[in-house]
């Protein structure tokens, strides 16, 4: 019900993967929408997908909720964590632990993808 794939999309592929056992994905989606819009991209093009089983997690390489991928790359690549249904532990830029990624990491990942897209056109 949350999937919103824009077939005519020309910008980077942006995905948010979430699991229902961890409530932080809604706040993360709001942050992601803001950052996508700020980058001049369409927030409606974000693909939001639920990961609901251990099998799905293994297939997706999903190491925790929420996970944001831009052009298939995790915005904070996991450091060897196993795939599974769990809440993801992020480190903010000031060193604090958080259930949500640092908005600046989201912004930088998007900016890098936009720049890469522009460079390859």
């Amino acid at each position: 019900m949350f999937a919103a794939v824009n077939a005519s999309r020309t910008g980077p592929e942006i995905e948010l993967l979430w699991w229902s056992g961890c409530p932080s994905w809604r706040r993360t989606l709001a942050t992601l929408r803001e950052q996508v819009a700020a980058a001049g991209l369409d927030p409606e093009a974000i693909e939001v997908r639920e990961v609901s089983s251990e099998g799905d997690a293994a297939r997706e390489g999903f190491v925790g909720s929420p996970t944001i991928r831009v052009n298939g790359c995790d915005i904070q690549p996991p450091a060897g964590e196993p795939a599974g249904l769990t809440c993801r532990v992020y480190r903010l830029r000031d060193g604090r632990v958080s259930p949500t990624p640092d908005p600046d990491d989201v912004r930088d990942a998007l900016a890098g993808a936009v720049a890469e897209s522009a460079g390859t056109r």
């Binding site: 056992g21 961890c22 769990t86 809440c87 532990v89 992020y90 632990v97 958080s98 259930p99």
Partner: protein, 180 residues
């Protein structure tokens, strides 16, 4: 998973008899001289529990000389979440300077009896071990400036012999990881 439990605000809390990371049995009764007791469900793997941990440690230290006792409990299924195994709990306590014992609820009976829903989930009891506050430490896991204000507010009122003005808030965090 939502649990039906048989105690409510004002009721005496269920028994709590669990081993800590050193193998010592801890119980509510063991704190008979406590002016208040805080029992917090927490764990090693959950980012919410980790984000609030230092604030809870600060509360424990700040209220220790007023006779407030703290107990932390981990009830998660360690088979599926190895970071919450007894060994991992023991390792964390050894690495960090915890001012309260970390109890292992391997059967998950305590979590069921208390109706613990998330990590963290805070319960504050008065000197007669009656429930006076439960919920989150403060309004936002992401803002350390809140300093566990809801818990501090509850403790200040409990210690003054008054009912907390905000006896219940929504616990926020990772769900308790129940065994299949």
């Amino acid at each position: 998973m939502s649990l039906a439990r048989d105690f409510a605000l004002g009721d005496q809390a269920p028994p709590l008899e669990l081993p800590d990371t050193e193998g010592r049995e801890q119980s509510l009764e063991g704190g008979d001289d406590a002016s208040a007791t805080v029992v917090v469900w927490t764990c090693n793997h959950c980012p919410y529990a980790l984000a609030w941990h230092d604030r809870l440690v600060d509360v424990a230290r700040d209220y220790a000389d007023r006779g407030v006792r703290f107990l932390a409990v981990n009830s998660n299924d360690a088979e599926r979440y190895p970071a919450d195994s007894l060994d991992a709990m023991r390792g964390r306590v050894a690495e960090e300077d915890w001012p309260f014992p970390y109890l292992h609820d391997s059967s998950q009976d305590a979590a069921r009896a208390w109706g613990a829903e998330t990590t963290p989930h805070v319960f504050a009891l008065d000197s007669e071990r009656r429930l006076r506050y439960e919920g989150a430490p403060d309004p936002d896991y992401g803002d350390p400036a809140h300093e566990a204000i809801w818990l501090r507010e509850a403790l200040d009122h409990i210690l003054a012999g008054e009912p907390p003005p905000r006896p219940r808030t929504e616990p926020v965090g990772c769900s308790i990881k129940w065994k299949p």
